[in-house]
Amino acid sequence: MDGKRPTIASLHGMVAAGHPAAVQAGAKLLAAGGNAFDAAVATAAALGVVEPGISGLAGMGMATCYIAAEQHVRTLDFVPRLPAAYAGGGLGCGTPGNLAGWCELAKAHGRKKLHDIFAPAVALARDGHMLIEFAGASTIKARHALQELPFFEDWRSTYLGHGSGAPGPGHVMCQPDLARTLETIASEGPEHFYRGALGRKVIAHLQSRGGCVTMPDMAAVSPLWLEPLAAAYRGLEVHAPPLPGDGARFLRALRILDGFDLAAMERGGADELDTVWRAIRLAAEAGGSLPDESVATLRARLRAALPVETPQPPDPVLTSSFAVVDREGNAVCITHSLGGLFGCGVVVPGTGICLNNLLPREPPGAGLALPLAPAIATRDGKPLLLLGSPGGDGGSQAQLQVLVQHLDHGLAIQDAIEAPRARLGAGQLVQAERRMPAAAVEALRRRGHVVEAAADWTDPVGAVQAIAIDQQSGDPQTAVATGGADPRRDGYVAVP
């Protein structure tokens, strides 16, 4: 053995997410007879407790799901419409969508009661959890960033007021208000938030802080089941969310790359990296879903080895991704967000709810567009791979790089995740993890990439949580799922 994490493989389902306590919450549902939808919602709710700066019921997200009973991949959009009164500026707080999304997933395809699904999150909020590496560092960062805000005291008392120890890794965070909120929602249903007393309390507080969301906006929230976008890659069909998600960009890059034999290139060598990086830039430059002839044009441009420049990306949005499969063959991959770290920083007193800041400063012409691209790859209609990554517009870059390592180079999913990655920024800027071979990086500089060496491990290159499924047996009951979790955050895999 070599000091690495053990391979985690199971026939009984599994959860891969950015925090050990959150994956265990999902695994507990699987162990208690819940399916992947129950487990996904339990994981999402627990993430809202243990990484409250990134996740939470007042965020927004999208889910890509393989529904075994229908043998079909569907996307759930729980990014609510812009608030009616939104005119730009302000806190940037949009209408909360996550809770509605969770409840729709559970109602449409789960089998457990909300009370059981929220139980692990409630216990974590009530009894406390210890801040570990990434969550601890985030809390310190947030405390510095938010302390000048007029509502900092609400934030401080919510996240640092009930636990013990100094803020940062080792602090035990208790969130009794959030525990009560989740319990009340479990007994009264999501209407308590979207149409009832809890919602009125949240909205009144938000409005007192200058937010523009109203109860009619809340009542209008209605998650939508959509057909995902799909693209062929190496004989697989890769599914990812349409707008308001960012699946199109991810799939465009895959379609371009499908014309290149990456497996024949040296893994981690200059040719491979140059090809992948250019495909990412070309995919970002193009828009929408591509007709075949455009793909051919883009491949030709890639081969021409001319520089491809990327415009300045939008402000970074922090997201969190996770993946769940069960023994019945269901698969759920979710990416969700609060916007910035702890969203707009407004915490509604007495509720433990932190509000998002996912609205852009300027009202967009079309609706919201968010960097959410949770993906499921299928072969012959059966899911083979689930993967999602945070990282703003770098999230789909991260997914692509992991997919190439896994599919083209045959790396085990954990090794594919741990392989060094790059984040492509504006112009020709590339932040590359220092573990990339120096010779390759030098060669790439000569080809025009402006490569900056980042740390050995750095989370701007995303944090991919993934599950690979071996379908060779042809029976979901005997399919082996293998989990992969990203060490760039506190990624972990749990089994029931």
């Binding site: 000091g3 053990p6 985690i8 050990p20 265990q24 009894d127 491990w457 009951q477 293998t482 060490p487």
Partner: protein, 526 residues
């Protein structure tokens, strides 16, 4: 961010075990309101399925546990005696007992699990065996470590009597497996189901016992039903020793775990934490202390209570401390001749009620004696390999003799409150490994996971040291100059143990787990 695993912590309970699916089996008990005893037994039973080379219901083991309700530390030894019909004097070499039915002692693990559960657990045998049954019936995808273990065993046993039954159980009769292949053990699932339904009497007097005894006897072994019925795990008080502000508790002889405590007592006279971590001063002190303690164990393999007191007497320890710093080489035999290659598995758990359990169990060698009882999925131990054919030796293979054992599951208290549990595999290296990890954690303030992963050394006969090559080459050179004959074959050595531990913060009640990356160690939470 450094590519490492995250800290895995919980206020609700933690299990650390040598395989993810076994740790998850334990966590499932905690998640349903079970306690650390339920969790350890569920994980121990699951280990016998998911890591079948290292342990199983027919192996032997030991546990040290803090019982929160009684506020007391207890040990449970579930080793078993040399069978009453063993032909003392027939063998002249240990190696004659490395394989085959004559090497078998009565299974101790199932009785041990049941004793832990019935004394302090909250769940039924059926509840705690359920995860193991599901894993045996539905199958387990083989990890790299599983695959290597099975393929090595297959290569070494091909052609031996009973190999076909072994191969049928673990390779589907192919004599070879590949990583990711699913290992199904339907016979073992049925056996565990029968035990869940009818109790441990299935083995100790019942049908399973008859099958085992008949098969062993058909292969020329001496095990009888009377041996099985005589199995009686022994609860006891621990032997304890002070280290810094801690008290470390583990099993009394015939366990040789006192070597771990003696190492710590010697080191308690020094402050290795003042030296540079992993520097020559630190390692020289720890290695010399380890050698001094191991030599005491060689001199007194099974000390009486009086001799044990003498070994730990202040003056005796003071002499060893002087020896540590006298600059003269410390050398000698640290293992009996022809000692078997160690194979075991260690696990630790703690719960929200304050219970803490550490258990180590083994089949003797990988897949024990290699005999799988047809139709049962049960692989038998070769615990007698650890005995001495010389009828005058301490560990003489005499009928009814309880052999010594290097298993040393340990629990640590501070001010009568349990704070840490740690145990490892590693045969005669167990005490060495645990001492190195504890010093790293306590004296150098390494997090528990970092202490478990930190480079370690195994001290062998003479001046030989086998050290992981992650120690700095410069430091190893300096240690060579101090007389240590060091080899550093690999960055990570499986023989440097598989240590699983949990630590509890007495103020916040947060439990943190640590698992050894040298095997498939994994931590799961409630």
């Amino acid at each position: 961010m450094d590519g490492k695993r995250p800290t895995v912590a919980s206020r609700h309970g933690v299990v650390a075990a040598a395989h993810p699916l076994a740790a998850a089996a334990g966590a499932r008990m905690l998640g349903r309101g079970g306690n650390a005893f339920d969790a350890v037994v569920a994980a121990a039973a699951a280990l016998g399925v998911v890591e079948p080379s290292m342990s199983g219901l027919a192996g032997i083991g030991a546990a040290t546990c803090w019982v929160a309700g009684d506020k007391r530390m207890r040990t449970l030894a579930f080793r078993t005696a040399v069978p009453a019909g063993f032909p003392a004097g027939r063998f002249s070499r240990r190696a004659e007992l490395s394989a085959g039915a004559m090497a078998v002692t009565a299974p101790g693990n199932l009785a041990g699990w049941y004793n832990l559960l019935s004394a302090h657990g909250t769940r039924t045998l059926g509840d705690v065996l359920a995860p193991a049954i599901a894993l045996a019936r539905d199958g387990v995808p083989l990890t790299a470590f599983n695959t290597a273990g099975i393929n090595q065993a297959a290569a070494s046993w091909r052609g031996q009597p009973g190999f076909a039954a072994w191969s049928a159980a673990y390779t589907g009769g192919q004599d070879e497996v590949r990583q990711g292949q699913v290992l199904r053990q339907p016979d073992l699932a049925a056996t565990l189901e029968a035990i869940a339904a009818e109790g441990t009497r299935q083995l100790y007097g019942g049908r399973l016992g008859q099958q085992i005894v008949a098969h062993v006897q058909s292969l020329g072994g001496c095990l009888t039903m009377a041996d099985l019925e005589a199995v009686s795990p022994a609860w006891g008080r621990p032997v304890s020793a002070v280290y810094r502000d801690l008290v470390v508790h583990t099993l009394r002889p015939p366990s040789q775990a006192f070597e771990f405590l003696l190492t710590l007592r010697i080191l308690d006279g020094f402050d290795p934490g003042k030296a540079a971590r992993d520097g020559a001063g630190h390692l020289d002190a720890v290695w010399r202390a380890v050698r001094l303690a191991a030599l005491q164990r060689m001199a007194h393999p099974n000390p009486s209570p009086e001799v044990l007191d003498d070994i730990f007497a202040e003056e005796a320890v003071a002499r060893l401390r002087l020896r540590l710093i006298d600059g003269q080489p410390i050398e000698g035999k640290l293992e009996p001749s022809e000692a078997p290659a160690p194979h075991a598995t260690a696990l630790s758990a703690a719960d929200r009620a304050g219970n803490m359990v550490c258990l180590t169990q083994s089949l003797g060698a990988p897949f024990g004696c290699g005999v799988v009882v047809p139709g049962t999925g049960v692989c038998l131990n070769n615990a007698l390999y650890w005995g001495d054919p010389d009828v005058h030796a301490t560990d003489a293979l005499l009928p009814g003799r309880m052999l010594t054992s290097p298993l040393a599951p340990s629990v640590v208290t501070r001010g009568h409150v349990p704070v840490l549990a740690l145990g490892t595999s590693g045969g005669h290296g167990i005490c060495q490994i645990q001492a190195q990890a504890l010093v790293d954690h306590v004296d150098f303030g390494r997090s528990l996971q970092d202490a478990v992963a930190a480079p370690r050394a195994l001290l062998c006969d003479g001046r030989r040291v086998v050290a992981e090559s992650r120690f700095s080459a410069r430091v190893l050179e300096a240690l060579r100059a101090r007389g240590h004959a060091i080899e550093s074959p690999a960055a990570w050595m499986v023989q440097a143990g598989g240590l699983q531990a949990v630590v509890v913060d007495p103020v916040t009640r947060v439990i943190t787990g640590a698992a050894d990356p040298r095997r498939d160690g994994y931590v799961a939470t409630a």
